[in-house]
């Protein structure tokens, strides 16, 4: 199996974010919240403060490392929720058809008609700000495309004769869905999930920017951008580095998704001799 440059670049960037998040307590030179020192505020990057300091004199580098934890958790957990909901609904709707298909289609269309960020805002308004409600809000709002892709892939696979063969061999419906259909629709679903991780990171940043996500003083890339808004002309590094972190992690997720799709395609797989 030969993986392209893009895959490795994506995997590298993703690994960088994962390592930053996991190792933050050990490799961060300061505390993200408590080491505020107004005497040091708005310092440009130097040897002590690699990425400079923000308005309260906190180290931006430290806060970005800790922010990776939030972004990763939001990306992975919300996409897991999205994929499970989307695949379950889409695959069963495509396989069984009938009234269940009509119902799932109706709900999916309603979900698609509501702007997901607005819907997430509404959920956050009900649940209150904070990480758990952020996960629920983003997990419940972005499954419609996954559901559509799962449904249409299932529909096209259902008519193939290996699915009929499984029926004549005595497989039950659930077994057919799990052994015959799911492995063959995983490629696009996985790509959707990794691309969705990127957009979940963006949504988290947007919600935090709007003040509904992670609450200050705890660091998330989005809330750091909110804080940077007033300083952007005086201390651009306060905005540039969180923005760069968002950009690189979203790019990483997207490249990883593309690379995974290619490697999961069985036509590109060769047997080990």
């Amino acid at each position: 199996m030969r993986l392209g440059f893009n895959f490795w670049l994506g995997a590298g960037l993703t690994a960088l974010v994962v390592l930053a998040g996991i190792l933050a307590p050990w490799i961060a030179p300061f505390d993200p919240v408590l080491d505020a020192d107004l005497m040091n505020s708005e310092l440009p990057p130097d040897a002590t403060f690699w990425f400079g300091t923000d308005g309260q004199g906190r180290d931006v580098y430290t806060r970005i490392l800790y922010g990776a934890q939030i972004s990763l958790t939001v990306g992975v957990v919300s996409q897991l929720i999205n994929s499970i909901i989307g695949v379950t609904l889409g695959m069963t709707a495509g396989y069984w058809g009938g009234w269940w298909d009509d119902l799932v289609n109706g709900v999916t269309n309603v979900m698609l008609a509501i702007p997901s960020l607005i819907f997430a805002l509404a959920v956050m308004a009900v649940l209150g700000p904070g990480l758990p409600s952020l996960l629920v809000a983003l997990g419940l709002t972005n499954w419609s495309w996954t559901c559509r892709i799962a449904r249409s892939s299932t529909l096209s696979l259902k008519s193939l004769s290996y699915v009929q063969a499984a029926q004549t061999l005595g497989y039950g419906d659930l077994r057919i869905m799990f052994t015959q259909i799911l492995p063959n629709i995983m490629g696009p679903i996985l790509v959707m999930a990794t691309l969705g991780m990127g957009s979940a990171v963006l949504s988290e940043a947007a919600l935090s920017f709007l003040g509904l996500g992670i609450q200050p003083p705890f660091p998330s890339w989005g809330s750091m951008l909110t804080d940077a808004r007033q300083l952007i002309q005086l201390a651009p590094w306060v905005a540039i580095f969180p923005g760069l972190a968002i950009f690189l992690s979203v790019l990483g997720f997207n490249l990883l998704g593309d690379g995974l799709r290619d490697s999961l395609d069985p036509h590109m797989r060769t047997r080990n001799p």
Partner: protein, 321 residues
């Protein structure tokens, strides 16, 4: 006469299709199969021939349990396969299996050959690894593949090899009846003979009964013991292969036979249809239809009946008053 393994009696399948009206108005019934009856004996090959849309595949799907019949019964060894009290997929799987037309769509691309043969065995209660391995090896040998090839994925095989895998999968549960849906029509001409001979060898070796669905009359002629000619969901003629190929009576059958390409046509000045023997006397009764016009699939066919004109050779005629 051996006891029949499979009995299909007066099978009807109708589909409700949208007439295109608003709010689901104008729904009509499409008559796909209109009263098919036949018996299949152990070790026999019965072919159903006819043009696309004549209901032959729907009949096969009904036998496999993939299509619920609207009316009629299907019995396997005297036990009903349809209606209430019909067996589930599991019991049915050991009776009837199918070899599919397209060897590229009939194998799961993410399962190795071994996995696609082992999973049904495990599902049917064979859990000992050694027994699974033995049965797979025997089956691969039966269809002319080596055990090493079992570790490969379908895309690593040619069309003919894939069809061998499809045959192995159909036979792994040791069914008595195998439905062959155009088993060679998707294959390269040079491979067809190999697969046909493999099917004939396996039939003899394992005592299988074949129900073959085909429009390729040269394959039908080579493999069948008996032939059913279908048109618009009805049998228009049935008989032993000699009756059908040497003494076809119904105009539709005669046209089908005449359409077989004849490599010696140049040497024979007569058109092939003219070389067929004359239609046997039918007691002055006419054919129900000569099948030269497209039928109205949304209404039931006019009344007619199958009349025996020779032993085991029956033709559809207008009803006797």
């Amino acid at each position: 006469m051996t006891a029949s393994l499979l009995e299909v009696d007066d099978l009807h399948v109708r589909f409700s299709v949208s007439g295109g009206g608003l709010l689901g108005s104008g729904r009509r019934m499409l008559h796909a199969v209109n009263g098919i009856s036949f018996k299949l004996a152990k070790g026999e090959c019965l072919s159903i021939v006819g043009e696309s849309g004549c209901g032959k595949s729907t009949t096969a799907l009904a036998i496999l349990g993939l299509q619920e019949p609207t009316e009629g019964t299907i019995r396997y060894r005297g036990q009903p396969l349809t209606g209430t009290g019909a067996p589930g997929r599991m019991q049915r799987a050991k009776a009837v299996q199918m070899v599919f037309q397209d060897p590229y769509a009939s194998l799961n691309p993410r399962q190795t050959v071994r996995a696609s043969l082992a999973a049904p065995l495990r599902l049917h209660g064979i859990t000992a690894a050694s027994e699974i391995a033995d049965r797979i090896e025997v089956m691969l040998g039966n269809v002319g593949l080596t055990p090493e090839q079992a570790l490969r994925y379908p895309h690593e095989f040619s069309g003919g090899q894939r069809q061998r895998i499809g045959i192995a999968r159909a036979l792994i549960l040791e069914p008595e009846i195998v439905v062959l849906d155009e088993p060679v029509s998707a294959l390269d001409v040079s491979i067809r003979a190999q697969i046909i001979n493999l099917l004939l060898d396996l039939q003899e070796k394992l005592g299988l009964a074949y129900l073959m669905i085909s429009h390729d009359l040269s394959v039908v002629e080579h493999m069948s013991d008996r032939v059913l000619v279908m048109f618009f969901g009805q049998v228009v003629e049935e008989g032993g292969w000699r009756d059908i190929f040497e003494k076809p009576a119904h105009p539709y059958t005669r046209r089908l036979i005449a359409a077989i390409p004849d490599p010696y046509a140049e040497q024979n000045p007569l058109r092939q249809q003219d070389r067929l023997p004359g239609v046997p006397p039918l007691d002055g009764r006419g054919f129900a239809s000569d099948c030269s016009t497209a039928p109205d699939v949304f209404s039931a066919p006019a009344r007619s009946e199958l009349v025996e004109i020779a032993l085991g050779h029956r033709v559809r005629l207008v009803p006797a008053d």
